[in-house]
Symmetry: C2
Subunit: 337 residues, 2 copies
Amino acid sequence: MAVTINDVAKEAGVSITTVSRVINGNYPVKQETRQRVEEAIKKLNFQPNPIARSLVCRRTNSIGIVVPSITNMYFTEVVDGIEKYARNNSYDIFLNITNGDAKAEINAVNKFIERYVDGIIVVDPQTENMLSGFYDEIVNTVPVVFVNGYHQEIDLSFVISNEENGFKNALKHLNKTGHKNIIFVRGESSYSYDLKENIYRKFIKNIGSREYILTVNAGNSIEVVENTKKSIINISSEIKLGEDFTALIACNDLMATGALNACLELGIKVPDEFSIIGFDNIILSQMTTPKLSTVDQNMKKLGEKSAEMLFNYIESGYEADKVLINTKLILRESCRI
Amino acid sequence: MAVTINDVAKEAGVSITTVSRVINGNYPVKQETRQRVEEAIKKLNFQPNPIARSLVCRRTNSIGIVVPSITNMYFTEVVDGIEKYARNNSYDIFLNITNGDAKAEINAVNKFIERYVDGIIVVDPQTENMLSGFYDEIVNTVPVVFVNGYHQEIDLSFVISNEENGFKNALKHLNKTGHKNIIFVRGESSYSYDLKENIYRKFIKNIGSREYILTVNAGNSIEVVENTKKSIINISSEIKLGEDFTALIACNDLMATGALNACLELGIKVPDEFSIIGFDNIILSQMTTPKLSTVDQNMKKLGEKSAEMLFNYIESGYEADKVLINTKLILRESCRI
DNA sequence: ATATAACTGAAAACGTTTTCTAAAGGGGTG
DNA sequence: CACCCCTTTAGAAAACGTTTTCAGTTATAT
């Protein structure tokens, strides 16, 4: 069916070896011969079969992305960054969505390895898998780079956003603009939530004010917004929003949006009576009224950087380092300035 | 490096032919032999190399998805639906993001063909490419299914959502709940916008009321929300929102959200003074306050259905039909009920 | 003349599936 | 009991479309 290297060789009157050499330019070929071959290639519109190529070269020019969800704007940006970088380097990408299931993540990785992908990026790996040592063996088989997730004491290639830094700055800003008692909103269980909670606790103790930690039920994006809204409305009878507590910091923008919605419903003016800061800077944070102040994780850059690291890793064979991407407090309209 | 079919054959004391037969179960093998081979496979943990397999079978068990954007919640849901269906049928998926560029779409498709994917799904194909006849040749090479986009007089495999139906219902609902003059918001140019505008025009003429068509500048998701908001605020000096015009229908939820934000800023109460209905039912529409009434396109189902059609197409070799997926008016809080 | 560089092709290799050939066994027929 | 035919089972070898190794020939420089 399709035209093969044999057809080209016949057309140009040379051996397939020579054709291959012209294509790959990795061996001297006489100018005149080269030209004949190139003409034949053009005339027949020959495209080397990448499958055959992969078989002998053990290289597929493809990478696998494993990601918990794609209806979550956070991950979406990361994937976008990876895809862009990958395509610019003419890699194709396989996508696998795990729904945050640790087993599914393992399956995805194994499947990618069977497919002989050149490398794998795992976004927000399941902590369970990091601790089980699953990846310690894997990285002997194929380059893997992780984006965020649990990385303490783990000697693998990571690109992680400096959440501590950004979160601290957000807290500092709230305090500096006159907020004393600040509510902290987190989800059920994750490395990142624990990290932020620790920072929050320390900070609150330091400024000698009251702690209030609200843990909202997990769920999909819509549910997180909704659950947070409900939780806030619930506690609003117990503590006076805008009086006892005048500010709120959330572990992500979905929760912050939920809080904002609660305030709208409760008639609490944001930011006049109550300040809210989110985290991540997903696109949603610019679609609310007022627009959310948040901490930018630069997810696209996380994605691009992870792809860049992976490609270096693939080329060099050397495991990459841990790279810390800075976060940045972005002040919009949902908090005092 | 990796264990091959040769190793298994040696271990089991049979030929590679037999091993292959045991694996594929497409030829009789004596029970006892089969068992020996199976043990060897297990013992060596043998995984057939899919590359070699693809080379001879001309089948990759992979499909390509071409999509304009992934930071757009609309497409995200479609991709999610495709991914789920594909994975359940043990297909892997290649992802390519075109940013709505017609050339990029063509490149993506060609690249997928070079990769010998078994099939391709193009989400929201560029009208330009549909009309140029590009795909007419392509479908002789590989099964392609399209999701939405321009499909008039085009004889290819489509799964399209019945936008007409849903949009009409939304207009009817607005009219039935006492709205006479309704603003129509659309983007610059697309098949879908034109379609809706035609319906709008006809409807408005029918009920004998005033037309007001607002075209907002294109851009990414954030910009669409922002541009719509600004446009609404702009025209609010020219026409009295809540008096001259008491309702608005938008071509998508981003625009509807922008309109909602404008109302919040202008102090116009939604839905008490002004009704808004969006389109698509992206997750954002459930994250606003008030929650957006909208027309559900069931994007996940669009995705699943397109994958299902593609797989049937691949198996049977017969081009699939045009399938129309029903849309559904979803009444939430942003309009009278 | 001779060593070296430039150029080329035949054949092996990559790891499967598939086709072709054949051995072994079973059962019926004369 | 010898023969033949068919079915079951199995392996050798070809095929898929490349790259790479090895070997060899021709041109160039010393």
